[in-house]
């Protein structure tokens, strides 16, 4: 390779206003949040205009930043002067590191970092700001886009909600939090965004907090994630101190919180980056990801979080917030790469957790009757794919899957919302209130189908390109077993999605879908709330058993016809209850986002359609950082608002692994130590070469899944096949399995009944008991003893001894004896206590005398 010897000049990369002022993307929603909370109630649209405007502005800036980032990458590539051999040198089997793929070293594109001093400690200054690289710009755009669509959807969906303003405020604050996290320049900023999202999640899940079930779900979500956050705090601390020596030496001015510095440190080959510290740090951080991204075994909060309004489920709990954990792993990927030895095919913690999550969540999706819970478990399962990808070195497919998954999962949730809004009368129960909706709601049905196909990975929908890439790369990196787990998961996905599609859209209409309403006083519901019994509706009791879903919504529907139920109108029901009773298609404000998302669910996969050749790999080109060693020239902090870069590419040393040909996997960034004076920011991950056979295999697996599921649905739900109906009653194995799944592997029971209850009651009470009965009692006893002693001194010494000395010293002895009488209680135990207590005191005195 010629490039290996050639000296490259520092790259003159293009930048731009949007990239340098990226922080506005997060600041605008944050300001909008404050405006909504302060003035929202007085605005004609209850503050939603602030939210929408801010999201639109953020989207504009994020789009601008995206365009400028692409220009920057292109300028870097042009500067390099290399020709990009496109799609030519693709070998079979294990492919080579990127550097050799095009026969040309692609330069590392330095991220645009803007930062201000945020806080300082020990003379070190820590910043806050924005970090623009491919990953962050991609996700910023994604978050702003999805947030905007969801807010549009919400206008109609939560109209007339009694906390409409707060709802939009929380949604906007959430977006701000996610954007802050995605653009995080350092770990503390990342924690900031991470926790703000946790808070918003709490606020939004508990949006209808009048109902204890909702507030409990909110508490559970916040608390579970918080358990994982122990890992975030500990991991950040460990990484900070482990890396600080290397960073101080190699890049003064940076510190162990800076993302870029952490990346460089992890790949530096320094002894501090290969010991126990990085393993502990990475494990701790991944525990945080387990909590946030709903991985096994902390996934239990996510399905419960469906208690929130549907837009919340769609935005927070499927497409954005829960990918925060995935994002964290992707962001400081070098740390995990080194810690778990992913380079050498180490079977990482991440991959195992991801694989377990895929399967267990998919299985749980089979026994849910609630359409949102099916989707929630599906989300958990898809997050498992992403983690599996990251854990096995398939960085790009995992990030790409985040991208595509956001569209189709968001679309599916909005469809579910649309169904409940207009089709099933605020119920989410597929078995009771849905069925046969395809004719009534054609647009929703079409969008649902498209997204389902995308989710299950059918060619040519979006999920096919990303999910198959993950599975393909997992196999390519040598994890054959995990690849089969992934394929198995894909088949399961097809099956449970078929089941829920069938139950929702096909078959006979049931319950609300058939036009039965609470107003009719009848229906398949076993509930008999009647109009003239408002206090019954108030109590909310009879409802809870029927739907564990946002009860107040249906509740309020029951409680009033067309007046505003003042104190307890929690539901986002719109105003057409009275007019039409049957299921119908939703309004425009709901359908537009759904259709846009369905469109993207179909076509967004082509942004990185690897099987079509390298020219289609846009995401790979612009998002994946290049694994190139870059010379370090550290530049000290500049003033507020100015672009600060810690690492300026000077001499780009080409890694010499390109000559290795087949052995390309053993050298390069993250595989060998970068040359003196240079640093890597991203490991040389491998990319699988798609082959027709592999694609066919996965499509066949999905097809088998569909075939089984369709025939089962027809047999079970339509024909009520005798062999299948009542199987759980007849077969003990089936019953046990079913029960095990329905009880969610008993994990919830373990957490709530064993751990939480133990801490909240016996342990806390024991601690408090010790406080009151031991510590406080000791204090009281000392006080009482002091009082007694004083009294005794007064009575016996002062009054009797001193006085007695005057009266006659002969009585002294007997009086003292009487004084000591108090201790002579005659009780054996007390004597024992005194004996041993005195012995202990004497021994302490002896010890002190002898030692001191």
């Amino acid at each position: 390779m010629l490039a290996a010897e050639e000296v490259q000049h520092a790259l003159d990369l293009s930048s731009g206003w949007f990239l340098e002022n990226l922080w506005l993307v997060a600041l605008i929603p944050a300001v909008a949040f404050a405006l909504i909370m302060m003035f929202g109630k007085k605005m004609p649209n209850g503050g939603s205009e602030f939210g929408l405007a801010s999201m639109a502005a953020s989207l504009v800036i994020a789009t601008g930043a995206g365009i400028q980032w692409m220009a920057r990458v292109n300028s870097g590539d042009a500067e390099e002067g290399g020709e990009h051999a496109i799609g030519l040198l693709q070998t079979f089997g294990r492919s080579l590191p990127r550097a050799s793929e095009g026969g040309e070293v692609e330069p590392f594109i330095e991220p645009v970092v803007t930062s201000w001093v945020w806080w300082q400690n020990s003379g070190l200054e820590f910043g806050i700001g924005s970090f623009a690289d491919g990953l962050s710009v991609l996700l910023l755009w994604l978050v702003a886009f999805i947030s905007l669509l969801v807010q549009i959807f919400s206008i109609d969906y939560v109209r007339d909600d009694r906390r409409y303003t707060q709802f939009f405020g929380a949604l906007t604050l959430f977006s701000a939090g996610m954007l802050v996290m995605v653009m995080a320049e350092n770990m503390v900023q990342l924690i900031l965004g991470w926790e703000i999202m946790g808070l918003c999640s709490f606020m939004l899940i508990g949006h209808w907090w009048e109902d204890a079930a909702n507030s409990k779900a909110a508490l559970k979500a916040f608390f579970t994630v918080r358990v994982g956050d122990i890992g975030l705090l500990v991991g950040t601390a460990v990484i900070y101190f482990a890396s600080s020596d290397w960073i101080a030496e190699n890049s003064p001015g940076a510190n162990g919180f800076d993302i870029a510095a952490i990346q460089a440190w992890a790949l530096s080959g320094d002894s501090s980056a290969s010991g126990a510290a990085i393993l502990v740090g990475a494990t701790a951080l991944f525990i945080a990801c387990i909590g946030k991204s709903g991985q096994f075994p902390l996934h239990t909060w996510l399905p419960d979080a469906m208690a929130g309004p549907t837009p919340v489920s769609s935005l927070l709990h499927s497409s954005t917030m829960v990918v925060a954990g995935v994002f964290l792993v992707a962001r400081i990927y070098p740390v995990f790469w080194e810690a778990f030895n992913i380079a050498n095919g180490g079977l990482s913690f991440i991959a195992i957790i991801g694989a377990i999550t895929i399967v267990i969540a998919a299985l749980l999706a089979f026994v849910q009757d609630d359409i949102k819970k099916v989707l929630a478990y599906s989300t958990v399962s898809q997050l498992g794919y992403m983690m599996l990808g990251l854990g096995t070195g398939a960085w790009l497919p995992a990030v790409f899957h985040v991208f595509t998954h956001a569209f189709f999962k968001c679309c599916l949730f909005l469809c579910a919302g649309s169904i409940s809004h207009s089709g099933s009368h605020h119920s989410f129960d597929m078995k009771k209130d849905m069925g046969g909706l395809r004719k009534k709601m054609p647009v929703t049905f079409a969008a649902w189908c498209v997204s389902t196909l995308a989710l299950t990975g059918v060619f040519p929908f979006a999920g096919f390109w990303s999910k198959d890439e993950i599975i393909d790369n997992v196999g390519n990196n040598g994890y054959t077993v995990l690849m089969w787990v992934g394929l198995f998961g894909a088949a399961l996905t097809a099956m449970y999605m078929t089941r829920s599609t069938y139950l929702t859209f096909f078959g006979e209409p049931r319950g609300a879908a058939a036009g039965h309403h609470f107003e009719d006083h009848v229906g398949d519901h076993d509930l008999t709330v009647e109009e003239h019994e408002p206090e019954l509706a108030m109590a909310g009791g009879p409802m809870v058993d029927v739907h564990d879903e946002p009860t107040p919504r249906s509740l309020s529907a029951a409680a009033n016809v067309d007046t505003v139920d003042h104190g307890h109108d929690d539901g986002g029901h719109d105003d057409h209850h009275g007019e039409d009773h049957g299921p119908h298609e939703s309004g425009k404000l709901i359908l537009v986002p759904v259709v846009i998302l369905a469109f993207l669910a179909t076509f967004s996969g082509f942004t990185n359609a690897t099987p079509l050749g390298e020219s289609w790999e846009y995401v790979k080109k612009y998002v994946e950082p290049r694994p190139v060693a870059v010379a370090i020239e550290s530049i000290p902090h500049s003033g507020p608002g100015e672009g600060v870069s810690y690492f300026v590419p000077g001499i780009a040393e080409a890694d010499e692994g390109d000559e290795g040909g087949d052995h390309g996997h053993s050298e390069g960034c993250g595989l060998t130590t970068p040359p003196e004076g240079s640093a890597c920011f991203f490991p040389a991950v491998t990319h699988a070469t798609p082959t027709l056979a592999k694609i066919a295999l996965s499509l066949v697996v999905v097809a088998i899944g569909y075939a089984i599921a369709i025939s089962f649905c027809l047999a079970f739900y339509k024909r009520r096949d005798k062999r299948l109906v009542g199987l759980t009653e007849r077969s003990r194995v089936a019953r046990a399995g079913h029960k095990f799944l329905v009880n969610k592997y008993y994990l919830d029971a373990l957490y709530e009944n064993v751990i939480v209850r133990a801490v909240a009651h016996p342990i806390a009470n024991a601690a408090y008991w010790v406080n009151q009965k031991v510590l406080d009692a000791t204090v009281d006893a000392v006080g009482e003893g002091g009082k007694r002693t004083g009294q005794w001194v007064y009575e016996n010494i002062d009054q009797k001894v001193v006085d007695g000395a005057v009266n006659g010293s002969g009585t002294v002895a007997s009086e003292t004896g009487h004084g000591l009488q108090r201790t002579q209680s005659g009780k054996i135990n007390q004597y024992g206590g005194l004996l041993f207590g005195a012995a202990a005191v004497a021994a302490i005195v002896l010890v002190i005398v002898n030692v001191g």
Partner: protein, 99 residues
Amino acid sequence: MLAANFLLLAAVLFCIGVFGVIARRNAVMVLMSIELVLNSVNLNLVAFALMNDDVDGQVFALFVIAIAAAEVGVGLAMVLLIYRNRRSISLDELSELKG
């Protein structure tokens, strides 16, 4: 084998015994706690014998066992007598020794 093992175990038993003596109200239970204390001492004696490679400790332990047996005999006899006289063996009701 660490020397401290036996001694620490004995210390734990001793302290539990002491707690029992202080905390329990029932005379029989107090006697049992005293047995715990005695046994912990015996354990110490045997451990010392082992450490010094000398059987003197074991001889002492045997003496203690014998005396303890006597003590339990007399102790229980006294408890029995008390019970017979007062229909109760609660120690906190016994305060004849009060001066």
